[in-house]
Amino acid sequence: MSTLFPTRETTADPRTDADWTGRRAFETNLRALVGRAYPRVRGMGREPSWVFFEILLPFLGTSAFVLVYRALQAPEAYVGFVVLGGAMSAFWLNVVWMMAGQLYWEKSQGNLELYFAAPMSLMAVLLGMAVGGLIMSGTRALAILLISTAIFGVQFHLTDWALAIPVFLLTMAALYGLGMMLASLFLLWGREAFHLTNLAIEPVYFISGLNFPVARLGALGAVAIATVPLAVGLDAMRQLAFPGMQGLEGTPPPQTEALILTAMTVVFLVASQRLIRTIERMARSRGSLSIRWQ
């Protein structure tokens, strides 16, 4: 047994081993990001039930709205609005359930203190969770989009790809940046997180105009566009996918909404980084937060 254990150079010194370059610290954080994303990606293949729960069930909800709009003889673009909204709901659910509440679950499992004790930034862990979550929910969103498009015959009129791609990426960055910030807040609030998680889903769906154009909400819609990444990202993508369609007027142009998303991303990422620092300081001084059952 013992022959397998020695791996260090015999002349090594703990003081030398502890003295990392900035590059090594950066590479470790990058690897930690990949490491934390890994279980999310592997989990997709291991639990195929997610296809039923995360694609087929949400597809039923989307289908209901499509049938209602068609029964009411609403403009056909509304079917496209709903399909796009159904796809985007995947990301919000992922942000709420697998980002915002995640640090709290990690604490309960005893992972959080191991994260704190490892030579990496907790931001790397959060980013890893975000990247892993993005891959999971991106797959789900794409599946809903493709199935819905095939079944309901939705026609997208996307021409400005140069803007559409950055808008989508900015929407993801803002959404997951918000998720990272919420993860820290939920950890601070402890068990209140369960209630907040439940409370966050339906109201955000509503004010984001998941199943209708957000402009229909008037002033409330304007507030949503200024504050909720799902609302502004979805509206921008609808404007780009269905240009000039009835119901989309009254909100800022997609270029402006891209700037709003950029600002949101910066704010959420900076806030989450500061909150993580606060949490680590509080965890070490109070003996709570990082340590299981305290």
């Binding site: 047994m1 013992s2 022959t3 397998l4 254990f5 020695p6 791996t7 260090r8 015999t10 002349t11 090594a12 010194d13 703990p14 003081r15 081993d17 502890a18 003295d19 990392w20 090594r24 590479e27 470790t28 690897r31 930690a32 990949v34 490491g35 934390r36 890994y38 279980p39 999310r40 592997r42 989990g43 639990e47 997610w50 359930w97 697998m98 509440g101 995640q102 709290y104 679950w105 309960s108 499992q109 005893g110 992972n111 203190e113 191991l114 994260y115 704190f116 004790a117 490892a118 030579p119 990496m120 369960f194 965890a283 070490r284 001084s285 109070r286 003996g287 990082s290 340590i291 059952w293």
Partner: protein, 360 residues
């Protein structure tokens, strides 16, 4: 590394006047109350004490998870309060009953994930994981999901996790807690093999298993109520009670418990032995470890037992154990401590926790 190089290193652990107070209601709890301690590089050091003695708090401070309320602590010269990042690069920790990671991953994948947190390259991580799985005897389980491991296998995996970064100092917090005899032995052998392979590897072990501390540790500190009561090699500690007579007494019943005997003249201490009761049998057997000032005190003990209706089933002298040392130092045994804790347990801790996590 040569022994000479080890001699030039700063202490693996240096602790001076360490205090930690938890600001809880209704009144603050003092978990550590002025600890002084120095552990040399390459030493296997044990902290022995009952639950609530302050062992885990000390480990949390030394592993940079908790700040001291007062005093200083350093690891290989790095201050735990201001140089946490450097300490985290050269240490690791494993706790008993640890449920870390994600049940949906295989053992190999789980360990690889943790290797990435320590900055190992991807290929290097897989290679290191395979080496460690063979070393801890989990080679056959490498592709098994973590959620399907037995308690013993799980702890072996945790041990492998703790060795991923080849730490200079390994903190083990009750690493054999809840393990059966063979699994506990496997973990102990593993730690000894790892430590013995390279000079300078240091281990700090907390345990309330006396025999484990006796077997593994070069030096031991006995801790209770946040203070170090005694420190030394197991042999040095045992010599503290060598001057007295140490007996193991077995009776069919002992009304009032060992406290009745402890009050008798010439009795230094009396505590239930760890294996004290054969419950569920008609011929119940109560085993008590007695420390007497001299053999003459035995007469009084026998008289008291006869008067109380206790029948002596066995009596033999025994070598002093660390438990005898502990009993002499604090006036009670670990078994007594566990009984008291069991009586108070239940309402204090809410261990309900969320069950939903797609990665589990």
């Amino acid at each position: 590394m040569t022994a000479d190089v080890t001699a030039t290193l700063p202490p693996a652990i240096s602790v001076a006047g360490l205090r930690r107070v938890y600001p809880v209601k209704p009144k603050p709890v003092t978990a550590l109350d002025g600890i002084d301690l120095e552990v040399a590089p390459g030493e296997f050091f044990g902290l022995l004490g009952p639950n609530g003695a302050g062992k885990t708090t000390l480990i949390k401070i030394l592993t940079t998870l908790l700040l001291p309320s007062a005093g200083k602590a350093s690891i290989f010269g790095f201050d735990v309060a201001t140089e946490a990042a450097k300490i985290r690069r050269i240490m690791n920790m494993v706790a008993g009953g640890e449920q870390s990671g994600y049940g949906i991953l295989t053992v190999r994948e789980q360990l690889w994930m943790f290797s990435q947190f320590y900055g190992l390259g991807s290929r290097e991580g897989w290679r290191r994981v395979d080496e460690l799985l063979d070393a801890v005897g989990l080679g056959d389980q490498r592709l098994q999901r973590v959620s399907t491991l037995s308690t013993g296998q799980r702890q072996k995996m945790n041990m492998a996790r703790g060795l991923l970064n080849d730490p200079w100092i390994l903190f083990l917090d009750e690493p054999t807690l809840g393990l059966d005899v063979s699994a506990a032995r496997a973990v102990r052998e593993m730690v000894l093999a790892w430590k013995g392979a390279v000079p300078g590897r240091t281990v700090l072990l907390t345990t309330h298993y006396m025999a484990e501390a006796d077997e593994l540790c070069e030096r031991i500190a006995i801790v209770d109520h946040g203070k170090i009561l005694a420190i030394g090699t197991p042999a040095e500690l045992k010599r503290r009670v060598q001057r007295e007579s140490v007996l193991r007494l077995e009776v069919n019943r002992l009304d009032g418990g060992p406290a009745v005997l402890a009050k008798l003249p010439g009795v230094v201490s009396a505590a239930l032995a760890a294996d004290n009761v054969e419950a569920g049998t008609e011929a119940q057997r109560v085993a008590v470890n007695l420390v007497l000032r001299d053999d003459n005190a035995l007469t009084g003990v026998m008289a008291a037992l006869g008067a109380a209706g206790s029948r002596v089933l066995g009596l033999r002298t025994s070598e002093p154990t660390l438990e005898d040392v502990f009993v002499e130092l604090v006036g009670r045994g670990f078994a007594d401590e566990a009984d008291a804790e069991a009586a108070n347990a239940g309402a204090d801790h809410d261990h309900s926790h969320p069950t939903e996590d797609a990665e589990r």
